[in-house]
């Protein structure tokens, strides 16, 4: 048809493009080589500045060239006066702006901009802030820009309330933004601190005089009025889109995630073994000289070892007393353990006629396991639980909602809500198959915590948690005094190294699990009975840790692959000479 516009064919266009690229590459390579040789010769002049600029404007991610540029600029600083330097750096900033247009996420460009801004004799922070805002309006999750912005804000002293308003704006336009929520979490404690004092130093030691020393660390907290507003904001987010995790994470931060204070939670003295065992609230490194032991006022030279021995940081440490010091049952002794690092100490009296003695805070006193969300007041937690339940009614299968409900229930009443918690965990495992193992482990942890609490309420030394689908063991440092443990009919695969913290354990029932590894049944001085019927222990080597338990008498290995091995009985008699009752 006549009059039709003729357009170049694709092959023709491709060829043209290819040639153009080739030409460009030639120029680029030549310029790069020129740059490198200049740098070698130590040339720091305007020409070098220009040639690096050309290269960087087409490829802003060329780190070496930025370095060279900084060398040149630092040199120029020494030869030019301040006004000239100011001009040079201002030109550098506008050049950087064009680089950022090429690649808004170039590490090199942002780093260089940060460097230039700090060297600028008269920086214009307002302009920098404007640049950041423009950048973030194009991509509100550009973390390079967030980083740079934080630097600018710090240097220019932007008031905290204005920054908070800035996060308001960003969250308003798109709340799926971890950077904004996180920034908020750092601003709120500054703007609305919990205590009436304007800015409490985060390092401030907790007031000693206040009544029962709380295990939670209250710094970085926000005043209640503001918290309530934040709850509302974040609820709006997760009701709008319950599948967006950023809001849920912020919510958890709001509900308070306290860390336990480091302290000595238990001291145990054993006359027979002539040992002192110290348990801490968190894993610590007590070597060397971290702990001092006074026996009847006399400092003792003892060697502390961690349990398990390989751990440099451990919540449990043991020392052997010099032989004979406490072996006479008719003597009474007073021990004090000083923890030098924290200036903390704990006393323990070993009375006449007693074979052992301990002194400790019980888990119930400390509300040990509520630390996840426990900072907030019960009334607030209760109302938050109500709104989450409301959401759950609308979205019964939302995993974030279920998980948050579980956490809130635990903070409120772990034993009272146990049944509901288990049901929610079951739903979670079903709706989020990919993470079902995670939920199982978490559920195990909570069940163990509940069992610890029950044990403490009952004031017994028997820890029994059978048939609870346990997949993992934890909080073993809390079980220092347990003598009898029943783990039967769970889904445990191993007894981990931390198991060796159970220094008082005499009987271990672990039938009907999936145990194939006994690493943690190691150096347990009082262990007499180990029942491992129907597990997965398959080799003799797996049983080797048991050899370190001197009092082991009874071992049940029925229903394990290992019991079918040839001449296993003879080998076991040799490996475990103390065992008199072996069931295969």
């Amino acid at each position: 048809m006549h009059g039709r516009v003729k357009v170049k064919s694709t092959a023709q266009q491709e060829e043209e493009k290819r040639k153009e690229r080739e030409k460009k590459l030639k120029i680029y390579v030549a310029a790069r080589d020129a740059c490198f040789s200049k740098r070698k010769e130590g040339v720091w002049d305007d020409g070098a500045l220009q040639i690096t600029q050309q290269l960087l404007s087409s490829n802003p991610d060329f780190g070496t060239l930025w370095n060279y540029r900084r060398e040149i600029l630092m040199h120029l600083e020494t030869v030019k006066d301040e006004d000239e330097v100011q001009k040079i750096y201002e030109a550098e900033l506008s050049f950087l702006e064009s680089c950022l247009k090429v690649n808004p996420k170039s590490y090199g460009s942002w780093h260089h901009r940060g460097w230039v801004s700090t060297r600028l004799p008269r920086p214009d922070w307002a302009k920098e802030l404007g640049l950041c805002d423009r950048c973030l309006s194009l991509d509100d999750r550009n973390f390079h820009c967030w980083d740079y912005r934080r630097m600018v804000v710090k240097k220019s002293g932007v008031p905290v309330d204005r920054e908070l308003a800035f996060t308001d704006r960003l969250i308003g336009s798109n709340f799926s933004n971890y950077s904004s929520w996180h920034y908020r979490s750092t601003l709120l404690p500054l703007l609305h601190p919990e205590s009436p004092e304007p800015l409490p130093s985060p390092r401030r030691p907790p007031p000693r005089s206040s009544p029962p020393a709380s295990p939670q660390n209250h710094s970085h907290r926000v005043c209640e009025a503001q918290l309530l507003k934040e709850y509302e904001l974040v609820q709006n987010a997760f009701f709008t889109d319950p599948n967006d995790q950023s809001a849920w994470f912020y919510y958890r931060w709001l509900l308070g995630r306290a860390e336990r204070e480091e302290m000595i939670s238990c001291v145990l003295v054993s006359r027979e073994e002539e040992t002192v065992t110290v348990a801490f609230s968190r894993p610590v490194d007590a070597q060397p000289g971290g702990l001092m032991l006074l026996l009847d006022g006399q400092p003792q030279t003892v060697e502390w070892r961690s349990v398990p021995p390989r751990f440099k940081h451990s919540p449990v440490w043991i020392c052997d007393l010099p032989p004979g010091t406490i072996s006479d049952v008719t003597n009474e002794h007073n021990l004090t353990v000083h923890w030098m690092e924290r200036h903390a100490h704990r006393d323990c009296a070993l009375y006449t006629g007693r074979t052992e003695s301990w002194c400790r805070d019980s888990a119930t006193d400390q509300e040990l396991f509520r630390s996840e969300l426990s900072v907030e007041k019960t009334s607030v937690l209760q109302s938050e639980l109500q709104s989450c339940k409301q959401l759950q009614e609308l979205e019964p299968l939302n995993k974030w909602c279920l998980l948050t409900i579980i956490l809130l229930m635990r903070a409120l009443d772990p034993l009272g809500y146990e049944k509901e918690t288990l049901a929610h965990f079951q739903t979670l495992r079903e709706v989020d198959l990919m993470r079902s193992a995670y939920y199982s482990d978490l559920c195990s942890k909570f069940m163990i915590e509940n069992t610890v609490l029950k044990m403490e309420y009952a004031e017994v030394r028997v820890f029994s948690i059978s048939d609870k689908k346990l997949t993992t063991l934890c909080h073993l440092d809390q079980l220092l005094l347990v003598t009898h443990m029943n783990l039967s009919s769970n889904q445990l695969q191993r007894l981990p190294p931390q198991f060796s913290m159970l220094q008082c354990l005499e009987v271990l029932e672990a039938e009907n699990n999936l145990i194939e590894d006994l690493e943690g049944v190691f150096h347990l001085p009082r262990l007499e009975e180990v029942l491992l019927k129907n597990n997965k222990i398959s080799t003799l080597a797996d049983l080797r840790p048991l050899a370190s338990c001197p009092k082991l008498k009874r071992l049940d290995l029925r229903g394990n692959p290992v019991s079918g091995l040839e001449e296993v009985e003879a080998a076991l008699t040799e490996l475990l000479p103390s065992v008199v009752d072996l069931l295969l």
């Binding site: 609820q235 609308l394 979205e395």
Partner: protein, 635 residues
């Protein structure tokens, strides 16, 4: 171009420069057809046009004049053997009726008038009155007419003629706290206005946006996002939360409502069995059974589905889906609005047509068609200068077709339109540059649903300090009867002086326009190669016109691609260029060629693009990105 210079042979002659005609023109020209595109009017875009304030006044004046009796010239001397004549109607005035104008602001600058003294001065100095009713205008009209341009005089007289009997001297004398923009200022700044005759929006994923992108016509225009969807409810203007960010930020919804709304919107995306079960039942019933609550139901029904009582569930869900699909492509609402007004769009297509060789003539018309009796085909047209121009196809705007030749299934319907210039937004917010789409449900049973679009100065459609408000509904009575009750409830006028918090109306225009939706392209008493494009329809979208244009194109050239992407200037091969040569020589050659033939046009275009980018709408950039994507896929 002088008329005698017109070539005498074209493939397609198109009369009328409305949207459908312009798209048809671009489509034909793009595939190499010789197109003559003419319009009797002095401006582009027919009833789709946008006017400055002053040219709108001229337009108003024209529509008040009695249509001049047409002198039927006898063109039979130009007839050839076996041909007959069909005369076209020379006036399209039938499509516009009931034009009424009201001015509520003072005629002159009121620098001297201190607010406190107004009342006393009123009787003596007419110019000081803050709110002039048409009545007082009519009293003063004689004096003022001397100072004013003739057209303004006309307009005022019209205003006085059409004064509503209820427009009494009930003037508000207590107000005037707001500094008001005078009529003189409106006229002085008249060029800042681009007032559309039709009020529509572009759905972000509607057929017009697709066409603009596909054809590369988008390079000639810039767009702004409609920034919010509003609704009028319980006597208040409320924001309709429709995007995720809106729902999150909304203060009027409870968290449970937020969840229900998000859930409903998400569930709409794919059809469920439940939805299918309701199919032909009313959408309202379906919504009611979803137990969403009255709040959400209102938003979903009136603002998102834009449904009426008759809307079925299937239709309601389809429009909800369309709304949702369009969300987030360019911004927080599904709609775009062209900077400088809707009249830009037909002009952009005309431009594309011209770039590919189409010839344009305004103030030029076709008087009659020459029809071959045997075949009933239009062989040629006779233009207003009496030139015979042969053509293979003739496309005509429906207004130029004599009424007795048009066949319609339903009696012609009309749209009621109102255009208000106000002094502030109906829902003030942190930003004064909001573009709002407002849905107003029927005030009483049997009343029409009114659609309102409020434009801010950054859309380049009104002067700083004002807002331009378009109201549209299906006519029941005259535009004034249909829309003025709403205007007096939502705005502050002389009839509603106590609405202190509402925006004041400075000036307003009412008129009725024929609804083009009822007219078919074919089936009229016309030759088989004559196609009729209807005028604007009452819908919010441009689907009707785009569909019509594509249909006409496909009837004539079924094998051809409809508006394929226009190539980049650098990819075009000009005459004499060696197709196989590449590299630098070619570039030089090309450069020369460009300057030699037709190159000016391309150059000019490049310049223009640069200018538009400088003026810088954010949306322009995004459109550009989209365009880029299209180009990549080009073969």
């Amino acid at each position: 171009m002088a008329a005698e210079d017109l070539p005498s042979e074209f493939d397609v002659v198109i009369l009328g420069t409305g949207l459908a005609e312009s798209v048809v023109a671009a489509a034909f020209s793009r595939v190499g057809q010789r197109v003559l595109h003419i319009d009797r009017r002095s401006y582009y875009a027919a009833n789709w046009a946008s006017f400055t304030f002053n040219s709108l006044l001229t337009w108003i004046q024209q529509h008040h004049e009695e249509p001049q009796p047409e002198e039927l010239q006898d063109w039979s001397s130009l007839l050839e053997e076996g041909e007959e004549l069909i005369y076209l109607s020379n006036s399209d005035s039938a499509s516009i009726r009931n034009v009424q104008v009201f001015c509520f602001t003072s005629e002159e600058d009121e620098e001297e008038g201190a607010p406190g003294t107004k009342e006393d001065d009123r009787g003596a100095a007419d110019g000081d009155a803050v709110k002039e009713t048409p009545e007082s205008q009519s009293a003063d009209a004689k004096d003022k007419a001397k100072k004013q341009k003739a057209e303004e005089e006309e307009e005022e007289e019209q205003a006085s003629q059409t004064k509503g009997e209820e427009l009494s001297a009930a003037q508000s004398q207590s107000e005037a706290t707001r500094k008001k923009i005078s009529y003189a200022q409106l006229v002085k700044e008249g060029r800042r206005f681009n007032i559309d005759l039709v009020s529509k929006l572009l759905y972000s994923r509607g057929s017009l946006v697709d066409l603009l992108i596909k054809s590369n016509v988008s390079r000639y225009a810039e767009f702004k996002n409609v920034t919010r969807i509003l609704t009028y409810r319980h006597g208040n203007v409320q924001q309709v939360p429709c995007s995720r960010a809106d729902v999150f930020a909304s203060r009027q919804l409870s968290v449970v409502e937020k969840r229900k709304l998000m859930r409903f919107l998400t569930s709409c995306v794919e059809e469920t069995d439940e939805q299918r079960a309701y199919k032909a039942r009313p959408y309202l019933e379906f919504l009611y059974d979803q137990r969403l609550g009255e709040n959400l139901q209102h938003f979903l029904f009136h603002s998102i589905a834009m449904a009426t009582e008759d809307t079925t569930t299937e239709e309601g869900l389809a429009s909800t889906r369309h709304f949702l699909r369009c969300l987030g492509r360019y911004g927080n609402t599904p709609f775009l609005f062209p900077v400088y007004g809707l009249g830009e769009i037909p002009q952009c297509f005309c431009r594309m047509c011209a770039v590919f060789g189409g010839i344009y003539c305004l103030r030029h018309s076709v008087n009659c068609l020459l029809v071959e009796k045997d075949t009933n085909r239009c062989k040629a047209v006779i233009d207003s200068r009496g030139q015979r121009i042969s053509c293979r196809h003739f496309v005509v705007e429906d207004g130029f077709v004599a009424v007795d030749r048009k066949k319609r299934a339903t009696p012609p319907r009309f749209l009621s339109r109102a255009v208000l210039i106000t002094d502030s937004s109906i829902l003030p917010s942190s930003s004064d540059q909001q573009v709002s789409m407002v849905t107003v449900p029927p005030v009483a049973a049997g009343c029409p649903t009114v659609r309102m679009v409020e434009l801010c100065p950054s859309t380049m459609t009104c002067m700083a300090g004002t807002h331009l408000v378009h109201l549209t509904c299906q006519s029941v009575g005259s535009a004034f009867e249909d829309l003025s009750p709403l205007v007096t409830t939502m705005f502050r006028t002389t009839e509603s002086p106590d609405r202190e918090t509402s925006p004041s109306v400075l000036w307003c225009l009412y008129f009725n326009m024929a609804d083009g939706s009822g007219l078919d392209v074919k089936g009229h008493d016309l030759p088989s190669n004559v196609f009729v494009c209807s005028g604007p329809d009452g819908g919010l979208s441009h689907e009707h016109a785009v569909r019509q244009a594509e249909w006409i194109f496909k009837q004539i050239l079924p094998e051809e691609d409809f508006c394929p992407p226009a190539p980049n200037p650098e990819d075009i091969i000009y005459n004499g260029e060696n197709a196989s040569s590449t590299g630098e020589e070619e570039e030089e050659e090309e450069e020369q060629n460009k300057q030699g033939e037709g190159g000016e046009e391309w150059k000019e275009e490049g310049k223009e693009e640069g200018v538009k980018q400088q003026e810088g709408g954010e949306e322009g950039g995004e459109e550009g990105g989209e365009e880029g994507g299209e180009e990549e896929g080009e073969e």
